[in-house]
């Protein structure tokens, strides 16, 4: 058996437990095959447990483990970094819990916090630097760690309670959808619940960063006076939170 065929058979053994593949490998010390398969699966379960600690608490140990095993069966890892293995877990959660937006939003929070933790560094923009900005043509650069997501449930309250080891509230749908904002400030990943308007503003800025576009959207939503005032208030908030790292 050549090297490539051996490695493909080994893959089949690890991923599918293929007895045919194991027979073709015809290795000495067949007990060793079981060791490698156990290592493979245990490592992936551990990876998911590490990436989603609060989701694990929310689902319960047995349900989380069953879901993790279903994920491992369906999604063999591809990337060189184990960190990437958490990325597709949301797809498995969608299949197993199609009617539980709280589960999906909780998973999104933990995935986003993990990504933000190792996102590219960027110096926050100082308030002093605003003095020279040409606002008519300004394009705001957001921190590379920023992630936003729509929020339809009280997931922020659930996540906070789980983190603080308090009894979490029951899951419920929000009367009006809001947003979730995750970013890293210095070396700490942060989560903030935002309203629908700020969520829409950040989604718009993520597209092209246009300050004029942001003003136009807020004026269209709130009217001239309130729209301009809201633009200033959001800008001040984002600067103080270190969400803006430059203006082009």
């Amino acid at each position: 058996m050549n090297l490539a065929d051996m490695q493909r058979d080994f893959q089949s053994w690890l991923v599918n437990g293929s007895e045919d593949a194991a027979d073709r490998l015809s290795v000495h010390a067949a007990a060793g095959l079981a060791v490698y398969q156990n290592n493979y699966r245990a490592q992936l379960v551990s990876c998911l447990e590490h990436a989603f600690p609060q989701l694990r608490g929310w689902l319960g140990e047995d349900e989380f483990r069953t879901t993790a095993i279903a994920h491992i069966d369906r999604y063999p890892p591809h990337a060189w970094t184990l960190d990437a293995y958490a990325e597709q877990f949301g797809e498995t959660l969608q299949r197993r819990f199609p009617n539980n937006p709280d589960v999906h939003e909780l998973a999104w929070i933990e995935q986003a916090l993990g990504e933000a933790f190792v996102a590219r560094d960027a110096e926050p923009m100082s308030v002093d630097a605003l003095a020279t900005v040409d606002w008519d043509n300004a394009r705001l650069r957001l921190t590379p760690s920023l992630r936003v997501h729509v929020m339809n449930t009280n997931v922020e309250a659930i996540w906070s309670a789980l983190c603080e080891e308090r009894t979490p509230p029951d899951s419920e749908m929000l009367v009006e959808a809001g947003g979730l904002l995750v970013w890293r400030r210095q070396f700490t990943s942060r989560l903030r619940e935002i309203d629908a308007l700020e969520y829409a503003a950040l989604v718009l800025l993520q597209k092209d960063g246009s300050f004029v576009g942001l003003c136009d959207m807020l004026v269209a939503r709130l009217g001239e006076e309130d729209g301009v005032a809201k633009t200033g208030a959001l800008l001040a908030s984002w600067l103080s939170s270190e969400l803006i790292v430059g203006v082009d």
Binding site: M1, N2, L3, A4, M6, Q7, R8, F10, Q11, L14, V15, L25, S26, V27, H28, A29, A30, A31, G32, L33, V35, Y36, N39, Y40, Q43, L44, C47, P76, P77, H78, A79, W80, T81, L82, D83, Y85, A116, F117, V118, A119, R120, D121, A122, P144, S145, R184, F187
Partner: protein
Amino acid sequence: MSAVFSGYGLGLRREHYRDFLETDVAVDFVEVISENFMVEGGQPRHILRQVRERHPVVLHGVSMSIGSADGLNPDYLKRLRHLADEIEPLFVSDHLSWSRIGGFNSHDLLPVPYTEEALTRVCANISQAQDALGRTMLFENPSSYLSFPDAAMTEWEFIAEMSRRTGCELLLDVNNVFVSASNHGFDALAFLDGIPAERVRQIHLAGHSQGPDLLIDTHDSPVCPGVWQLYAKAISLLGPVATMIERDDDIPPLAELLQELSIARNLGLLETRRRLGEAA
């Protein structure tokens, strides 16, 4: 004398970050898992830069997959090069194993068959890696739990020839020799005698566990007496070599690991004295 001796070190683990950043830890180098720091930014890179200001650093990888039949991942090599250029490590190492085939990555150190075809592929991959990194690499003998019927040579013969063809250097994991020798029934001393002593730059020590049928390389316990004996034998053959203790699970306070590391220091000191006595 086989190696440029660089002292005694420990693996940098999250549980000990504060010790390494806030106190003067008595190690000669620290070893980090390369992939944990091959990230865009954030705290991991920041901590590594701070530690590097205090100690020489070894970059030890687990994902190069030097035995892959379909070659290496250029993106991986590029990221590792970037990290190495910044950190200026004492050594850059990985394992004589494979983890990737096609689009699949097992994230485990899978065994390479000791065949001529595998040797040719491993050597080509090592040359590619050393060219991409612009430096000589060290490769570690892994623990293994099975062997292949079509093997044409022993593990140590494979390693010796791999090093001869590529110029790569060696990271001798004494615990892995102990584990594999037990699992496959070969003589650990034959392994030590069979590898090219002049190519060994670093030694790993670790603990292992007894599984139902095999010894398992778990890194979750102190180095056992049998591994210490094998280490003493190794340095009697090699001379003192940069040595570190790997601990990846059930991680104790740093003081315990430093105490364990002092055993290696003392054995190295005894070997140096023995050699000085012989020379006199």
